[in-house]
């Protein structure tokens, strides 16, 4: 674990609006090693995508990275140094319908990346683009290369977007819910493709999703995000075997098919709050089945839990020795949230 690609330290991204300041990402730290897949999981509005956009330098007015550092291969990116590393970090967006420029051919858009990052032009670029399309599993690539995005299906477009990402010859691939807009069979194919490419190219992958099932399949390490903060981080097996934070437990319990019996699927009541100020309390407390008095007054810090070798951390007062409440027995999961 010496080959660190990305190191994010205490990242804070805020959006200044006329009325208030929204803390979309609030003190987040993680790193991605070469060849590793790191997952970011959480509900809509928890700050996953803003984290990804911060890493890519796509945060624009009124948003600003207020604090923290993002180091890529040892170079600090915060402060506008993305240009030097353009292409080293590639992205696959959620919506393939919108990721390709409708007025240029798919080949044109791949070749643009090839020209910038590999200096290929003319026929050499066309050949390379066809090869890339074949690599991502598009049949009849020689013909497809001169077609427009609207002639591609959703899954094909996502493959084309991945081909563009590969044309940049990246070290790190950020996948922002790459399969959310696709149907399940295509989803499996795309995940398989990403997995294959990662092994071939030894990429680091930052994988963002709200689908715990996808997380379990694809990632090595998981960060559970809630209201701009990481409430739990652990290797994927550890997280699924021994979740600590009540929110993680709630997420796991609400995966269809995981809980036994034909009862209603457990849910977590309520919505992710919008963080408008520095936290003085646990942001999950209002929805937490195990919240106690101190949760409204103390902002939990991240503490090591579980298997000492597993690098498992959570931010929950239940595991803090200073407080008397102790975590619930395992198996009694999210008992306050079972009314769907």
């Amino acid at each position: 674990m010496s080959d660190t690609l990305l190191e994010v330290e205490n990242l804070r991204t805020v959006f200044h609006t006329d009325k208030e300041t929204i803390h979309a990402v609030d003190g987040v730290s993680f790193d991605v090693q070469r060849g590793e897949t790191v997952g970011l999981v959480g509900e809509s509005g928890s700050g996953k995508s803003v984290t990804a956009r911060s890493v890519l330098g796509l945060v624009e007015e009124p948003g600003v990275i207020e604090e923290g550092s993002i180091e890529f291969c040892g170079d600090e990116l915060v402060g506008g140094n993305w240009d030097e590393h353009r292409g080293d970090i590639a992205i696959v967006f959620q919506d393939p319908m919108n990721s390709l420029n409708p007025v240029y051919t798919v080949g044109n858009q791949i070749k643009e990346a090839l020209r910038i990052h590999q200096g290929l032009r003319g026929q050499a670029a066309t050949d390379a683009a066809i090869e890339l399309l074949e690599d991502v599993g598009i049949p009849d690539a020689a013909r497809r290369v001169s077609e427009y995005p609207h002639q591609f299906s959703g899954g094909m477009r996502q493959r084309a977007v991945i081909a563009i990402a590969l044309a940049c010859d990246p070290d790190l691939l950020v996948c922002d819910e790459p399969t959310t807009a696709l149907d399940v069979t295509i989803q499996a194919q795309i995940l398989e493709l990403l997995d294959e490419l990662q092994r071939e190219e030894d990429l680091g992958v930052l994988f963002i999703t709200h689908d715990m099932g996808v997380i379990e399949e694809t990632t090595d390490r998981v960060n559970v995000m809630y209201a701009g903060e990481f409430v739990e981080s652990a290797p994927v097996e550890e997280l699924f075997d021994d979740p600590k934070h009540p929110y993680t437990k709630g997420l796991l319990a609400s995966i269809p098919g995981r809980t036994a019996g034909g009862d209603r699927l457990p849910t977590i009541e309520g919505e992710v709050p919008t963080s408008t100020s520095e936290p003085t309390e646990c942001r999950f407390a209002p929805r937490c089945p195990h919240a106690f008095d101190a949760c409204d007054e103390v902002h939990p810090e991240r503490i090591a839990v579980g298997d000492p070798d597993a690098d498992h951390e959570t931010a929950c007062l239940l595991y803090d020795d200073e407080f008397e409440e102790s975590p619930p027995e395992d198996g009694v999961v999210a008992d306050g949230g079972e009314t769907a």
Binding site: L56, L58, R86, I91, P102, I164
Partner: protein, 336 residues
């Protein structure tokens, strides 16, 4: 589609003029003559109104199709309508051409600029200017512009007439286009006459183009704002495309798509607007001719001019469709 539209438009025009409540024959005659049955009969025969309506309709339509537009009745009495239109139309086209050009080359870039720099001082100035500019009615703006240019010596300290090409016949009036008659290349080979004709028509073109300019600015700004935040623009940015290429290649071409119908629909407005502006600036264009024909009751001429306008509008629509297919590959010609 074009053919049925032309047919329907001209048929409605015929119906309103010849079957409508106004008797074209009485309009041709003076008060005294109306009561003279012989004169009235003669006028009816002249107009072909004594024929059965269907026969008249077929005659009228077939002569339009072969561009045999007949002769005028009241206005420039008895002159050939074909010759009249060939005389008046170039001035209107000249005026329309420059006002569309002003709108496109000032309004669109200004809107794109404001969109790229949204919520900056430059954006506010441009947006504000666009709204104010658009809010000025063109008959008022025309009169104001003439007044200001007429006394430019006193207001600005230099004379509008003294800068650039010399105008022999005052600041308003007909641009002299005769040098291009039968020889359009003279536009380039005789730059002096071209500049003179441009300067002559410039105030009218600015007035006529002003509303479109403001409109195109606002639409252009919105279009850029919309495209700027699309995933594909961000993907291109992540890809490492330079800021310059990002703007010119990825943003502007997509932002042009919603502007095409705006620009072409404004070309329609120019036809209507030219009636007013040509009157204010004393340009003998086809709009002015239409206005005169309408108020003097030369209904056959009105009908013929309507036909010319319909042809122009359908033509502009065809150009719009072609432009669409050039800019946006999603629009195919087969689907029409």
């Amino acid at each position: 589609m074009a053919i049925p539209v032309i047919w329907l438009g001209t048929s409605m025009t015929w119906y309103i003029i010849f079957m409508g409540p106004i008797d074209p024959a009485t309009r041709l005659l003076s008060e005294g003559q109306v009561r003279n049955p012989a004169a009235y009969e003669a006028a009816q025969t002249q107009l072909g109104l004594n024929q059965p309506p269907l026969q008249h309709y077929v005659d009228w339509l077939s002569s339009l199709i072969v561009f045999d537009l007949g002769r005028t009745w009241l206005l420039y009495q008895g002159s050939s309508v074909n010759a009249l239109i060939m005389d008046f139309l170039p001035r209107t086209l000249w005026l329309g051409f420059w006002s569309v050009l002003i709108a496109i080359f000032i309004g669109v870039p200004l809107g794109f600029y404001a969109g790229m720099r949204s919520n900056t001082v430059a954006d506010y100035v441009a947006s504000m200017g666009g709204i104010v500019w658009r809010a000025m009615p063109n008959f008022w703006l025309g009169i104001m512009l003439l007044a200001v240019l007429g006394s430019s010596q006193a207001i600005f300290g230099f004379s509008w007439e003294a800068i650039g090409p010399n105008l022999t016949s005052g600041i308003s009036g007909n641009p002299d286009l005769s040098y291009m008659a039968g020889n359009p290349i003279a536009f380039f080979t005789n730059p002096n006459a071209t500049l003179q004709a441009i300067k002559k028509v410039a105030p009218a073109a600015i007035v006529l183009g002003s509303a479109s300019m403001g409109n195109e600015m606002r639409i252009g700004r919105t279009a850029v704002l919309e495209v700027k935040n699309q995933d594909y623009v961000e993907l291109a940015k992540v890809k490492g495309v330079s800021d310059r290429a990002l703007v010119y290649k990825h943003i502007l071409r997509n932002a042009l798509v919603p502007l095409v119908p705006i620009i072409t629909s404004e070309a329609f407005l120019l036809i209507g607007g030219s009636v007013l502006v040509e009157s204010v600036f004393g340009i003998n264009g086809i709009g002015y001719l239409f206005f005169q024909a309408a108020i003097q009751g030369d209904l056959p001429l009105v009908g013929t001019l309507m036909y010319v306008f319909i042809l122009m509008i359908v033509g502009i629509n065809l150009i719009q469709d072609v432009l669409y297919t050039l800019i946006d590959p999603r629009v195919g010609l087969e689907g029409e």
